[in-house]
């Protein structure tokens, strides 16, 4: 097992403590804006911690995706809903708490089977992993083993990952539309309905009438569900 020097050990304990503090702060907060921002902070702390574990490629991805883009995407999603989370009754917290406790116990139980950090005899560092590290220099002439494994030795897997990202983008585009014009659903942030998307496409103008009638039909349905005295059977 690799023995850490004291400053690095202190730094890692510090990172873990900060992650814990941020996680607890997220749990206590009701403002969704602050929660999204703290999730970005959490990702950035994770990235810093990965650097101290010598996993620079993972840290890079975490910083760019977790702290950067996903924070913006979460903000974009948050702007379409309310700004504050509704407080949950205690009764509804018991189920998730039970699941979390069971999961925590299971993970601590499994911890005993994990190899020590930097263990040269662990499954990752023997077998095919060691083979990649040894043969990259002779077969690829590349200094970065991670790139060689990702793009060449494991090219199939990366192809799959690329397709997954493509599918994610495709799914969102199919559901929401690139110009926000798919379907008739409109966001109602803070209970205020929002005007039509800022730039409705020209094609929609010709079909404006059927859209309007559909919207008019939907409105009473929504009111029914809000006020049961109107005779809503749902």
């Amino acid at each position: 097992m690799m023995v850490h020097s004291l400053p690095i050990l202190l730094m890692e304990i510090g990172f873990m403590a900060m992650l814990l503090v941020v996680a607890l702060a997220v749990l206590r907060m009701r403002s969704l804006f602050a929660i999204v921002m703290l999730q970005g902070v959490y990702s950035l702390l994770c990235a810093a911690w990965f650097v101290s574990l010598d996993a620079v490629d993972v840290a890079f991805t975490e910083a760019a995706v977790g702290a950067g883009v996903s924070t913006v995407l979460m903000l974009g999603a948050m702007l379409l809903t309310d700004r504050d989370a509704n407080p949950l009754p205690t009764k509804r917290k018991l189920g998730p708490l039970f699941v979390v406790i069971i999961m925590g116990i299971a993970m601590f139980y499994a911890l005993g089977d994990m190899p020590a950090f930097g263990d040269a005899h662990s499954a990752v560092n023997t077998g095919v992993g060691a083979q990649y590290v040894q043969s990259t220099r002779e077969e690829m002439f590349l200094p970065n083993v991670v790139t060689a494994v990702l793009a060449s030795y494991r090219g199939y897997d990366t192809f799959g990952e690329t397709v997954v990202i493509f599918m994610a983008g495709l799914g969102v585009v199919l559901l929401l539309g690139l110009n926000g014009n798919a379907g008739k659903w409109r966001a109602k942030p803070n209970g205020q309905s929002v005007a039509a998307p800022s730039q409705p496409p020209v094609k929609m103008a010709a079909a404006a009438k059927p859209v309007k009638t559909a919207a008019a039909k939907r409105k009473p349905v929504r009111r029914k569900s809000a006020k049961p005295k109107a005779g809503g059977t749902s």
């Binding site: 620079v56 002439f141 800022s198």
Partner: protein, 147 residues
């Protein structure tokens, strides 16, 4: 708009640098940390920053949604096409050695890795932009005090 003047001036200087750093990460990925995934996210974030500061309509003029639709697909096609090209040259799927079989310093591997990384860059950049455009286009225009 005037209340964002500082942000606009600073972002205008930052955005080209962010995009340039994205391409550095892309093409230096063989030698240092990074690669197509990280570079794609960084390039996309430069466009997203532009959209946040100058408005979604300005961003859609700079990077039209049609590019996003095509670019997202093109990336997967470049990656898959590299595999098909290795097939046609007589190798296995994604076996890049057939690009330069006589090379003594694995030039075929380098070309293959470069090609698939460009495919990854393309898909990641435009998929991130697609998701951002889809959400941001439905966003209400916020006045300053709304925050």
């Amino acid at each position: 708009m005037n209340q964002h003047l500082l942000l606009q001036v600073v972002s205008k200087m930052m955005i080209p640098l962010i995009a340039l750093f994205g391409f550095y990460v892309q093409f230096h990925g063989d030698f240092g940390p990074g690669g197509g995934f990280q570079a794609g996210v960084i390039v996309a974030s430069s466009v997203i920053l532009y959209a946040l500061v100058f408005g979604i309509e300005a961003a859609k003029k700079a990077v039209p949604p049609s590019w996003v639709r095509i670019g997202m697909t093109l990336g997967v096609l470049i990656y898959g096409g590299t595999g098909v090209a290795t097939w046609l040259l007589g190798g296995e799927f994604l076996n890049y050695t057939v690009f330069a079989p006589q090379s003594t310093h694995a030039a075929g591997q380098h070309w293959g890795i470069l090609s698939v990384e460009i495919g990854v860059l393309c898909t990641v950049t435009f998929a991130m932009l697609a998701i951002f455009y889809a959400f941001a286009s439905r966003m209400p225009d916020l006045s300053g005090e709304d925050w």
